[in-house]
């Protein structure tokens, strides 16, 4: 019995995941440093952004550049309602607002070729940014808002909950008939439609579901910035990072995007204070290099190693 076969055993994996979850859940109780909490929160956030992006764009091949827009909607919901409503409600509304926006965008553009969808989502961030800017200058005469302060431990736990819910959702979609249907849409959309799949409805709802989690994440993360304005809330970086992380990590396997998110979230934390523009430059470079030379991402490489291990095992028996 070699190590690969042990690790592939399902109960081992589940046990390991359970252990990690327990550790993460109890971490703050062990007087973890603020730095650790913040770092982990950032990692959780990026996993949420990346995995939710992959839920839709992975199987269907419809590239969405809108995560930053949904994230921003979540942030702004918290900024506007945070003082008036309790935190869980604010997060729920942020998630719902993103969900509805995604439904609208999807209903409008998912009937058309994928390129129109990509273009539309790309401009969405700047569009909402400008509209909000105009609104604030002309209508409310305020520039920016101040957000309520929430302690780091609460943010940590909320983000962890959102993460777990998202991972469960993503996993069950992937294993369900809808996951297979989404894949068929990516392989041959016309054939999928002729097999009885309501492709427009499935695409739109899946897209909206992924936006839901991004909105929730935005709502809770908003509390980390004390001052929010349209430029801070709607930042194209939050569309770039999930794409980079998913492609680097590899979309063929479930763990790929998670791996990519963890790596780059950590790298960003390490580099952002000392090399603010350099790190974005490097990340951009990495994306281009991965697109050119490593299309399957890290998970693709791991898959090959895995298969090699299993083949060796089969050859030895």
């Amino acid at each position: 019995m070699n190590i690969v076969s042990v690790i592939s055993h399902r109960s081992f994996l589940l046990g390991l995941l359970g252990l990690i979850l327990v550790l993460l859940a109890t971490l703050p109780l062990f007087r973890a440093s603020t730095y650790t909490l913040l770092l982990l929160t950032a990692i959780f956030m990026y996993i949420v952004l990346t995995v939710s992006w992959v839920i839709f764009s992975g199987p269907t091949g419809y590239i969405s550049l809108a995560p930053a827009a949904f994230f921003g909607v979540g942030i702004y919901t918290a900024a506007v309602l945070g003082k008036v409503l309790p935190l869980p409600v604010v997060i729920g509304i942020g998630a719902l607002a993103s969900f509805c926006l995604a439904l609208l965008v999807g209903a409008l553009t998912l009937r058309l070729r994928g390129i129109y969808f990509a273009i539309f989502t790309f401009g969405l961030v700047v569009l909402i940014q400008q509209v909000l800017l105009w609104w604030e200058i002309v209508k409310t005469h305020t520039r920016g808002r101040f957000v309520i302060v929430v302690d780091n431990t609460t943010i940590y736990y909320v983000m962890l909950v959102i993460l777990v819910l998202l991972l469960l959702t993503a996993y069950s979609i992937r294993r369900s008939k809808y996951g297979l249907a989404l894949q068929s849409i990516g392989e041959d959309e016309e054939a999928a439609a002729h097999t009885g799949i309501n492709v427009t409805a499935l695409k739109t709802i899946t897209f909206a579901m992924s936006a839901f989690f991004v909105g929730a994440a935005g709502a809770i993360m908003a509390t980390k910035w004390t001052y929010i304005d349209p430029y801070i809330a709607f930042n194209p970086l939050f569309s770039f990072m999930p794409v980079l992380m998913a492609i680097f990590g590899g979309m063929g396997q479930f763990f790929g995007p998670v791996l990519g998110a963890v790596i780059f979230a950590y790298l960003e934390e390490v580099l952002i204070t000392k090399f603010p523009y350099y790190y974005m430059l490097i990340f951009g470079l990495i994306l281009v290099i991965v697109m050119l030379y490593l299309p399957g991402g890290l998970a693709g490489l791991v898959q090959k190693w895995w298969k090699g291990g299993l083949e060796r095992r089969n050859a030895n028996t």
Partner: protein, 289 residues
Amino acid sequence: MIETILDVVIGGLLLGGIYALIAMGLSLQYGVARVLNIAHGEFLMLGALATWSLYTVFGVNPLVSLAICGPITFIIGFILYRTVFTRLRISSGSIGAYEGSSMLASFGLLFIIQNIALLAWRSDIKGYTYLAFPVDVGGALFAANRLVTLAFAVAIGLAFYLFLARTRLGKAIRAAAQDPGTAGLVGVNINQVLALCFALGALLAGIAGALISMCYPVHGTMGLEYTIIAIIVVVLGGLGSIPGSFFGGFILGLIGSIVTSIEPGLSLAAYYVLFMVLLIVRPTGILGR
């Protein structure tokens, strides 16, 4: 009353001239070379910031900078196409896959170019004054630099049109736009032509940036909005139609000017509404196939 209308119309043409240039550039890159280059605006930004530097540091006349920035962005575009996009084209299974992967690669390029610029030029907003004196046109006053920009935009646009229509290379480009496979068969060196198209697109963006720098402030993050506008114009004029992008640019400029005269700050929103209407009613655009 007539003065206000003239104001808005000429203002729209001024804006439209720039839009026409960048849209033609993107049309070459997407319509012909099939690269949806969302880093397009970054080339514009490079042209703008380079012109600013040349003027404020070396005192180079911005109109002369046109002849410097254009070739520089051309070369950068050419190199990028040959290194990045050619390789992607080879490894992509279908045109659809290539469109997607080239768009993502250009997303990476966007961040690379933008951050190089932010490192080189810092993130503050810059500007300079050149030809800023007012000129009287039919009773309305316009800054000379904006009129010069319009003149150049129209001139370059026409030159481009003649280039495509009359020269052998231009005809090769049009052939490649219509049907790359067949064009290859009749002796057109398709790879060279596509690289040239991409590079020409970058050139147009760089020139547009240089012209913009005369009239408006410039900064490292200015490119994104222009990319989006270029995309909307290209869809408006019809994907793949270069004349469509030229006229579409002026149409959008007029719309922008009208909206700004009613409610400044909402021009992009208006463009997006138009975009949405187009997508619902006629995604192939006005002149598109």
